[in-house]
């Protein structure tokens, strides 16, 4: 009887521990790869690169830096991020930088047009 109670307690503790460890107190993993970045962090990163591109006009460097995110194709990633940023109402300088980067990657869509410089 006593052994059965002990076994049940061990089992109960294991179940409780697994539930706690997976749901309530999940371990915060570090050393993660950029592919796992949250959408928000990824958007910030892409905006940073778009600003850098606006300053240096180095498309190859922008492509290299965006490849860091591990998501391909990069052009589509920038386009979808730009469209999301427009929907979410990001500030104008961010949207302009994103739209320009997307357009220079050859990725265009209707919502981007107002944020691009007018053609001469």
């Amino acid at each position: 009887m006593r052994s059965l109670a002990l076994v049940l307690l061990v089992g109960f503790g294991a179940g409780l521990g697994a539930w706690l460890g997976q749901s309530l107190l999940p371990v915060e993993l570090t050393d993660n790869h950029p592919e796992t970045l949250s959408a928000s962090a990824r958007t910030h990163y892409i905006i940073n690169i778009a600003f850098a591109y606006a300053a240096d006009q180095d498309l190859a460097a922008a492509l290299d830096r965006l490849t860091f995110l591990g998501i391909s194709p990069v052009g589509e990633l920038v386009l979808t991020t730009t469209e999301s940023a427009i929907r979410e109402g990001w500030p104008l300088p961010e949207l302009r930088a994103l739209a320009r980067l997307s357009a220079d990657f050859g990725m265009m869509s209707q919502p981007l047009i107002p944020y691009l410089p007018a053609a001469p």
Partner: protein
């Protein structure tokens, strides 16, 4: 009538009871039993937590920048500082760097990461070189210093992103294994069309396929290509097709149109490429053109 027949069916025999004659008395657990119980619960809990944290942790999704591995955090840091170089918003850069949790003393941590990046050959590309210059400019402005200092420009230089960096010399006092730095490659190189082929095959029908390559045939990613025709033009960039060579890019032609291809500002336009039909294995297809650009000699 027999003896048995007289017993009524609902009557319970006297010797049968549904309850025990005497209820067992509750015996309080001994100290040893309580201790064993706590120990068993603890062992179970430890096993469950070990399973959840070590053996089968919740897969990493939606991670924040501070949860990235060290080099990825350094890349993210560079992006923040490139943006700072573009908009000069110091407070925003500091806020973003704080979220990266690179250390209490942010400028010193930035200097350390810059040093690490230099040691790993980050500056071998011109873009990496210029990026590290911005990083150096950032931490030097905050009064920090590090082994990448040698890459910094004289104080007071402005618009760093637009100037060509001087060829650096060997690091005199490198502390993290950094070695002599190569000169950054020039940002504008002249290219020439080194090969032009026509093909007639279903897989590439109607495509202008462009390869931009180094002299040793390594593809060059991120090269802008201009395709022009009588009424318009289009641009594309090499390296955007997953699974293809980094120097690969393509463009779909329309039947009957004539196109010219060039690397804008870096090469002369190609001869006119006419989108016309060809025949392969009894099928009528649109021909394709394969162009290879390499640095001009």
């Amino acid at each position: 009538m027999t003896e048995h027949a007289r017993i009524r069916p609902t009557e319970t025999p006297r010797h049968f009871r549904w309850w025990p004659r005497q209820r067992p008395r509750f015996r309080p657990p001994t100290r040893l039993e309580i201790l064993l119980g706590i120990l068993a619960l603890g062992i179970g809990l430890a096993a469950g937590l070990s399973y959840a944290w070590l053996l089968a942790p919740v897969p990493a999704v939606d991670t924040e920048p501070h949860q990235l591995h060290r080099l990825a955090r350094a890349e993210y840091m560079v992006s923040i500082l490139l943006r700072w170089a573009a908009d000069e918003d110091w407070a925003a850069a500091i806020r973003s760097l704080e979220e990266l949790e690179i250390g209490e003393d942010i400028p010193a941590a930035v200097a350390e990461l810059a040093c690490e990046l230099v040691g790993r050959g980050y500056t071998q590309k011109g873009s990496g070189f210029r990026a590290i210059q911005q990083v150096v400019r950032f931490y030097q402005r905050a009064g920090a210093s590090g082994c990448a200092d040698v890459l910094g420009l004289p104080s007071g230089s402005a618009a760093l992103v637009q100037i060509t960096a001087p060829a650096p010399t060997a690091l005199p006092t490198a502390t993290s294994g950094a070695t002599a730095l190569p000169a950054p490659p020039s940002t504008t190189r002249a290219f020439q069309l080194s090969r032009l082929e026509t093909h007639c095959e279903a897989a590439t029908a109607g495509l202008i396929i462009v390869y931009v390559q180094e002299p040793d045939s390594r593809g060059i990613r991120g090269q802008r290509v201009r395709v022009s025709w009588e009424e318009g033009e289009s641009f594309f960039v090499t390296g955007l097709h997953p699974g293809q060579d980094p120097g690969y890019g393509d463009f779909a032609m329309q039947r009957g149109r004539s196109y010219r291809v060039e690397l804008p500002g870096q090469s002369a336009p190609s001869a006119a490429l006419l989108a016309r039909s060809c025949q392969a294995r009894g099928r009528i297809l649109l021909r394709s053109y394969h162009l290879t650009f390499r640095p001009a000699k």
